[in-house]
């Protein structure tokens, strides 16, 4: 059929109008009382709830399956969810489960469900990416229905940190469905799993018999939308009730919007520039210190993020366990940087490459351009190289120890141990190839120490060494900026999780 250009245009316009109409009609009303639609940059990519290790995706699955314990961010201590109480006994962690909790299929929660779930989490061949959390666990014992004992190689004081976000599913359902276990996900959570489409909707419906009390919202829908403009448009038109990662320069405009509200919270993702010390010139401490003197993180926050960010003093942010208020970041001093560079044997400056993955983090391309310009003032000549995230993060990149210097964000960082162990302890990863026996010893000792005060003291000692050695350039935490329908009330969290039972409609 031949159609003229004009016909084509009219028909296209009609088509677009028809497609947009339902959205426009909805925007007249408010968020539905029964349903909340969430457009998020990061939503589960697989039906296997253990096939990731990313904070927002933990939030997705936590609707259905629940952890034994959870961190209370206000109190900075762990509180029980499925576990009622726990004890640290040498190389054992003993958990007592809460009584009277039932799975969505009616079966009671027992210690066998915990052992079964741990087995699934350790099943790397089956797709789990959470196995390393149990690398020190030698055995899971189930002496009775309510008691679970984790036996570890050596005393492991930081085990609660590893056990956070380890969710428990039903063994009864597992035995029944076998390979189809994840298509029929059965947990104890406040919501039941309804459906999942890759690239489409992830749908949960309320569990009216939830042991912790019924949630207010009946249906929760997650959809992955990575394009900023698309998420914003959906929120403004009423298609979405909740979006994450609102660009900071849109905040002022959205605050005047009739049906939209903005919520900000200091995020737990810590951004930094990491050196790989297997590469020259980063094996030289003076060069690393020089680089630290060049980078002006407060200026980046002020100018690139409109002031919505929190510079990090010392090796970790102030709200992280193990932070030391006595430690300060290297001040911005390009003159000093040039001196140090000359001292290190680079009187005429030094050529370096800075890697990043454009689009992965807020405004990463701008940040790296500013960092490059700042480092030029301190005597470095910087080449910027952007790589696809898969290439950047995988064995060819950061995790294979292949990148000399890169911009990265470590998500849901609540305990300094996580960062120190992962980045600066000999052999844990190849991300920085840093090796310092003294630091290794402190990290190991700290992991065995049950007394939190003593452990924090050890973490502070480690932090002091890390700052003196300038093993990386700590930058900032950013605000997590959320856009919500005005009539939606929710309890903000700093860990990038969006939870349906935290929400209510006015």
């Amino acid at each position: 059929m031949a159609i003229s250009r004009r016909q084509f245009l009219t028909r296209t316009a009609l088509g677009i109008g028809a497609a947009a109409a339902p959205g426009l009609l909805r925007s007249a009303g408010a968020a539905s009382r029964d349903r909340v639609t969430i457009y998020h940059t990061s939503v589960a990519d697989s039906i296997n709830p253990y096939n990731h290790s990313s904070s927002p995706i933990y939030g997705d699955w936590q609707h259905v399956i629940e952890p034994l314990i959870e961190l209370d961010y206000a109190k900075k201590e762990y509180v029980g969810v499925l576990a009622e109480s726990w004890q640290f006994q040498g190389n054992k962690w003993v958990f007592k489960l809460r009584k009277g909790i039932k799975f969505h299929n009616g079966a009671p929660l027992t210690s066998r469900d915990v052992a079964f779930s741990v087995e699934k989490m350790r099943d790397e061949k089956g797709g789990s990416l959470q196995a390393p959390n149990f690398k020190d666990v030698t055995e899971v014992q189930t002496p009775d229905d309510q008691t679970v004992i984790f036996v570890t190689k050596q005393p492991l004081a930081i085990f609660l940190d590893r056990l956070e976000n380890r969710f428990i599913l039903s063994k009864v359902a597992g035995d029944k469905f076998g390979d189809k276990l994840y298509d029929n996900l059965i947990g104890t959570g406040p919501y039941k799993f309804v459906s999942y489409q890759r690239g489409g909707n992830l749908v949960f419906t309320r569990n009216d018999e939830y042991w912790g009390g019924k949630a207010a919202i009946k249906e929760v829908i997650f959809r992955k939308v990575t394009e900023d403009a698309a998420r914003l448009a959906a929120l403004e038109s009423g298609q979405a009730d909740f979006i994450n990662n609102v660009p900071d320069h849109e905040v002022a405009r959205l605050q005047k919007h009739p049906r939209v509200r903005i919520d900000k919270v200091e995020g737990l993702r810590m951004f930094f520039l990491a050196f790989n010390m297997a590469f020259k010139p980063w094996d030289n401490k003076l060069v690393r210190q020089a680089a630290n003197y060049c980078v002006d993180a407060p200026a980046i926050i002020k100018n690139i993020f409109d002031g919505i960010g929190y510079p990090i003093n010392g090796p970790v942010g102030a709200n992280v366990i193990g932070a030391d208020p006595a430690l300060k970041r290297y001040p911005y001093d390009p003159q000093k940087a040039r001196q140090l560079l000359a001292q290190a044997g680079f009187p005429n400056g030094c050529d370096i490459q800075l890697y990043y993955s454009a689009g992965r983090y807020p405004k990463d391309r701008e940040v790296c351009q500013v960092v490059a310009a700042q480092m030029v003032k301190g005597g470095f000549r910087v080449e910027l190289i952007s790589q696809e995230w898969a290439l950047f993060w995988d064995k060819q990149g950061v995790n294979g120890g292949k990148l000399p210097f890169y911009y990265i964000g470590r998500g849901s960082l609540t305990d300094a141990d996580t960062l120190y162990d992962q980045y600066f302890r000999t052999g844990t990863t190849k991300r920085t190839n840093y090796s310092n026996p003294e630091l290794d010893k402190i990290i190991e000792e700290q992991q065995k120490t049950a007394d939190q005060k003593k452990r924090v003291a050890l973490l502070r000692r480690a932090g002091k060494i890390i700052m003196e050695e300038a093993t990386f350039i700590p930058l900032y935490n950013l605000a997590d900026i959320y856009g919500l329908a005005r009539n939606l009330i929710w309890k903000m969290r700093p860990d990038e999780k969006v939870l349906g039972w935290d929400m209510k409609i006015k």
Partner: protein, 279 residues
């Protein structure tokens, strides 16, 4: 010479010439270093608007870099990539097309099949695939665009040569003892020049847009070289707060492509034998 018939050529040519001057004399014309960041002056609107400052005629971008200087420097990449691609793609396309058309048989079969394979893919898609494979860089960009643009020349030249080789003057040249290659390059190819010129101008406009598109997608030249496409891309997220970040590079692309198309249109009017006969 100044008749209405040549108006398009004059206007288009003038625009192109102006751009060439901009590109060549960028260091003299640009008021500032296009890379110099002045973070305190970021997102300044153009001089004539309410909060504009005299120092920045077209305002500054999200890192406090002078928009005018970046646009002047950006013309270098656009024109260089456009011109180089047109020349290389034209050379490759013309030679292959001429060989295929003149010698026929196996040569024709091979060249035609290869060019059909290239035609089967959308042009920008080939360029994206090649850039993703080769990585950023001006040289890579020109190579990728050339690989996806030569086919057009090849098809047209082949068709023209096919009809030209049967003409009397070619037979005459052969009868006088001219070797095939001599006849082809001395007598046949020069006669395709009119069509090639027209294709080249239109192709240049398309290539400039393609360069902008690839830079917009982050597949063009490295981030520290200012180009109109990457300026558009970076300014996109500020379109509500600072529309001048996208308006000026957009205008620059528009004017350039408009000028080149005008020139191509004018050339076609003058050179196209069909149109000539109608007059």
């Amino acid at each position: 010479m100044f008749s209405l018939r040549y108006l398009k050529i004059w206007v288009g040519g003038a625009i192109l010439l102006l751009l060439c001057v901009c590109g060549v004399a960028a260091p003299l014309l640009a008021p500032r270093d296009p890379q110099a960041q002045t973070l305190e002056d970021r997102l300044r609107p153009p001089r004539w608007s309410e909060n504009g400052v005299p120092a920045y005629l077209l305002g500054t971008d999200n890192l406090g870099r002078d928009m005018l200087s970046r646009i002047i420097y950006g013309s270098r990449i656009s024109l260089m990539v456009g011109a180089a691609t047109v020349v290389f793609a034209g050379l490759v396309g013309c030679i292959l097309g001429a060989v295929a058309g003149y010698f026929g048989r196996a040569a024709d079969e091979i060249v035609s099949k290869v060019s059909e394979i290239f035609l089967a893919f959308p042009f920008l898609l080939i360029a994206i695939a090649i850039m993703a494979f080769l990585g950023q860089g001006v040289g890579n960009l020109i190579f990728a665009l050339m690989l996806s643009r030569w086919v057009q020349y090849c098809r047209v030249v082949r068709g023209e040569v096919l009809s030209l080789r049967e003409r009397d003057f070619v037979t005459a040249a052969k009868a006088l003892g001219g070797r095939d290659w001599y006849v082809l390059f001395r007598h046949v190819l020069p006669n395709t020049l009119a069509s090639v010129t027209v294709i080249a101008t239109f192709s240049m406009a398309i290539v400039i847009i393609a360069e902008a598109s690839l830079s917009f997608l982050g597949l063009g030249v490295p981030v520290h070289i200012p180009t109109w496409g990457s300026m558009l891309s970076e300014g996109r997220s500020y379109i509500n707060r600072a529309p001048w970040l996208t308006i000026f590079p957009g205008l620059a692309i528009f004017i350039t492509v408009f000028g080149i198309n005008l020139l191509g249109d004018g050339l076609r009017d003058v050179l196209d034998p069909k149109l000539r006969r109608q007059r």
